[in-house]
């Protein structure tokens, strides 16, 4: 079972990987409120796609399952709230891992 804390750590590790790959210009302080997609996000579109792909790999490695991240399945991230935060994404990862 994937905990919220573990999911947050995975996200943090993926973001650190972006920094190492040169896709982020500066170190980021990762907390639950950090916006990953939408207004205020420090990630451009290429960095975001790379981040999601890497995170998917980590999730599959962690759970041993064949899972796909589908942004449209994140009900808290929708037209009423068009900003995806670390906390929201971590909750989605936990839910996805339970499948």
């Amino acid at each position: 079972m994937l905990s919220q804390e573990k999911a947050m750590t995975m996200i943090e590790d993926s973001i650190a990987g972006l920094r190492r790959a040169g896709l982020l210009g500066a170190d980021l302080a990762v907390d639950g409120g950090l916006v990953l997609l939408g207004t205020g996000s420090p990630l451009d579109s290429i960095a975001f796609v790379t981040f999601i792909t890497d995170l998917e790999d980590r999730l599959n490695g962690e759970t041993g399952k064949d899972l796909y991240l589908v942004l449209t399945d994140i009900h808290e991230f929708n037209t009423d709230n068009a900003r995806l935060t670390v906390e929201t994404l971590a909750r989605y990862l936990v839910k996805l891992a339970q499948q």
Binding site: A21, I46, V49, T50, T53, D66, Y68
Partner: protein, 235 residues
Amino acid sequence: MTEQTVLAITGASRGIGLAMAEHFARKGIRVAGCSRGPSQIAADNYLHTQVDITDDKEVRGWIRGIKKAYGRLDVVVCNAALVPPAALLLNTATETLDAVFRANVNGTYLVCREAAKMMLLQRFGRIITVSSMAVGLHSEGSSLYAASKSAVVEMTKILAKELAPSGITCNVIAPSVYESSAVANLGEAVVAHALGQLTLKRALTIAEICNVIEFYAAPESGCITGQVTHLGLVV
């Protein structure tokens, strides 16, 4: 390309895709082919998966399978396509229109998208799409196929710009006549007409086609992106 290179080819069970897969597998390159039908190739360095490239889940599963098998993906050749029989635009059924665009445009789009995601993590990749002589010839009866292949060219050029900062190149190969069942499906009159309009009035060999793929795939071709190479035809 070396024996460490991982090359993916769509539409690898027949025609030009099968010939490409056989050519590169014989050279020792690790080839991952896909098609809706079963494999026609038996080789240790060939991995075949039955995939409907118009289904995004199947495409994602295929790319993930390549990563599991080989750990990387260096080159993808988006070859799979439907070649409809020659027909005037006025006589083309809506169902045919939908099927050709779904396979040739949507399918290529999905494969490029999923392959590019994996290549982004590697910070290296070569995406090669396949257009056609039909784009340059404007022959009567080829409106549907030519339109779909024009879309592939435009998509590839834009993708080339989007991926340029990530070490990934995107180029197009536009073969003329290669003696395959797909070309035969165009009909004798269209093929004869096409040969007559080509600059080189002969069919291509698979070695000539694969030579362009190897050129695009070479590490030294990292500055070549968004280009279209026409074979046998001055456009």
